[in-house]
Amino acid sequence: MERYDRWLSFIWMALGLGQCFESWRLGLGSVSEPESGFMPFVLGLGIIALSVILWVESFISRKRMHAQKTSAWADVHWRRIIWVSLLLLGYALLLPKLGYLLATFLLLVFLLKSGEPMKWPVCLLIGLLTSGLTYWLFGVWLSVPFPRGFLSF
């Protein structure tokens, strides 16, 4: 983990520097009349300071962490997480085109299939029922204006 911490501290430092630069560009004003960039600039400096502390801390904790053999990244089901993320991304992008009912039905069916093995008819049934029920709950009862898509529903 300490290796990741070291790399992450560089990312935080870059973020802090970026924040300071952008704040300076916005205008700092003066201490008696602080402008839009004043507090973000001060906080940016704080982020840089903390990233340096974390960088140093990663060396100090190295020995302790070395003894800890099991990594938090071991046995992670990466493929499933990436697949689910892509499904959600696709849903957000396709919702206006496909409309709520179709997009939600497809999302649910693929999400159900992405977990432990489940038969297609069960997935299709749950997808159909849930998309219909949530449409009624949010679209009809709570009046959320869902996009209708090319099929007009």
Binding site: V31, S32, S36, I53, L54, I81, L111, I126, F138
Partner: protein, 502 residues
């Protein structure tokens, strides 16, 4: 006299059929998610926040508060029967609760947990009622420097009590405040940090951020594990009412847990989890047979379960008195109040007494509902544990997507939520706490305003934060926490606290 009049007015509001319905929905959902491991009260409040847009603010807060304290009731069921805590605050209940179940005493364990929760919950509402009004009168005298200092102290305590590195938590708080800068500068109306993106023009929405960090990230964390099966301890649950000996053994633990939990609930970052662990430690200290704790003794269930419920009442004090949330669930309630156009803080109790007293009265009612719900429906909750996660997680994700979309009816908000979901998952994996980030994000605009106004009113003198007694005290304590993280002896003490916190 005012006190009784206000309480009577609160009950008039709380007993309205519509508010009774929302209170019931809140405590029912709270118990449900408390029972189900893998989804917490924070994620549920985030999920249901959009459904409250079209109801009155008092009904919305009654329902969302019900989810929060209801979850503490439900969390014990899984700890006792499955040895899996439904909530982090119920981890310690596993120690004696599960052992009691193995000895065939699941009934009294569940019973004392429900009764202890009821007693503690009621006592903490009483404490909230008695303390909040006088404290809010004091808070009215606070100026910008005091508010800024107290918010700094709150974030420092949340970071200090968080898991892992204090500096990582502090960094998360800094990142949270930085995210709150995105959008329009509230003082001069100037756009900043939006990178020309339309979706960031009004800043990062509270709902997409919360749902991403607590809904999506939580699902990802559960999905990364290989398939898990839950073994429900096969025992017949009978005799839910504790006998006289059980009561004799438990009453002290319930009272101690109630007092401890209430005061720890007030502390930022303290809350139900720390309260339950400290209550267990106290029971071990005061017990004549400390070696028996962990083998299935009833006070090991009664104390922590009372403490975690009592902490929920205490947690409302900083929210209502100062407008400063002490934990993530309270931060969500703060967000809910703000969405409804209300500014939590000392003026809330004065200007909108119906919100405060209506919520307090509903908490009494909710505690009675929870007692009625928990004891007869335990069989149903056990059955719910059998709902496979493979069916549950698509529903949670869908609710997150709908929630983010319904905020502005804009699909781009779903992308923002997904971004925070992935970010939250990765940050958790790298050992970063998300609670300081969320609290800081919510407090960010108030902090900036208080900071800038303090400097303007003091003509640019930064010592303004250190020359007024309350702000000096708060800043001094925050500085002490920061410095203590560098001192080895204090660092070790913090680790010991951390070691007890799941």
């Amino acid at each position: 006299m005012d006190f009784l009049t206000n309480l009577a007015q609160g009950f008039q509001i709380g007993l309205l059929p519509i508010n009774l319905l929302y209170c019931f929905i809140g405590v029912l959902l709270g118990t449900l998610i408390g029972v189900l491991p893998g989804i917490g009260p924070s994620a549920t409040i985030a999920l249901l926040l959009p459904t409250t847009f079209r109801i009155s603010p008092v009904s919305a807060i009654i329902m969302l508060a019900g989810i929060y304290y209801g979850a503490q009731y439900g969390g014990s069921t899984t700890s006792i029967l499955v040895n899996i805590p439904g909530e982090a605050a119920s981890v310690v209940t596993c120690l004696d609760g599960y052992q009691m179940a193995r000895k065939g005493r699941a009934g009294p364990a569940l019973g004392i947990s429900a009764f202890g929760s009821f007693i503690a919950g009621t006592l903490s509402v009483l404490g909230l009622m008695v303390l909040a009004v006088p404290l809010s009168a004091i808070a009215l005298k606070f100026g910008f420097p005091e508010y800024f200092a107290i918010m700094c102290l709150g974030l420092s305590i949340v970071s200090y009590l968080g898991r892992g590195s204090f500096f990582k938590s502090l960094l998360m708080a800094a990142i949270g405040v930085s995210i709150s800068f995105i959008g329009m500068d509230i003082v001069v109306g100037k756009p900043r940090f939006d990178f020309g993106l339309l979706v960031l023009g009004d800043g990062v929405g509270l709902i997409p951020l919360l749902m991403g960090l607590f809904g999506i990230a939580e699902v990802f964390s559960n999905l990364e594990q290989k398939n898990q099966t839950r073994d429900i301890f096969q025992t017949k649950i009978q005799g839910l009412l504790p006998n006289l000996k059980d009561w004799k053994d438990s009453w002290g633990a319930i009272l101690r847990g109630s007092v401890l939990g209430f005061f720890l609930g007030i502390l930022p970052g303290g809350g139900a989890v720390v309260a339950s662990f400290l209550s267990y430690a106290v029971e071990r200290k005061v017990s004549k047979h400390p070696e028996r704790l962990g083998t299935g003794v009833i006070e090991g269930v009664a104390g922590p379960e009372s403490a975690n419920n009592s902490a929920t009442g205490g947690a409302f004090i900083p929210l209502f008195v100062l407008g400063i949330p002490s934990n993530v669930a309270m931060a969500m309630l703060l967000g809910a109040l703000m969405i409804h156009g209300l500014q939590p803080g000392p003026l809330l109790i004065r200007d909108h007494p119906e919100i405060f007293w209506g919520t307090v009265a509903s908490m009494y009612i909710g505690n009675v509902m929870l007692l009625v719900l928990n004891l007869p429906l335990i069989g149903l909750w056990v059955k719910l544990l059998k709902v496979p996660y493979k069916i549950l997680f698509p529903m949670i994700l869908l609710f997150c997507m709908i929630g983010a979309y319904s905020m502005n009816n804009n699909p781009a908000d779903m992308l923002v939520m997904l971004f925070f979901g992935v970010l939250g998952y990765l940050l958790r994996k790298f050992g970063y706490e998300l609670a300081p980030l969320v609290l800081a994000f919510i407090l960010g605009p108030q902090m900036e305003q208080a900071f800038r106004q303090s400097l303007i009113m003091s003509d640019g003198n930064p010592l303004v934060f250190f020359t007024r007694p309350i702000s000096a005290g708060a800043m001094g304590l925050a500085a002490f926490l920061l410095v203590s993280a560098f001192i080895p002896a204090w660092k070790n003490r913090r680790k010991r606290i951390d070691g007890g916190t799941p």
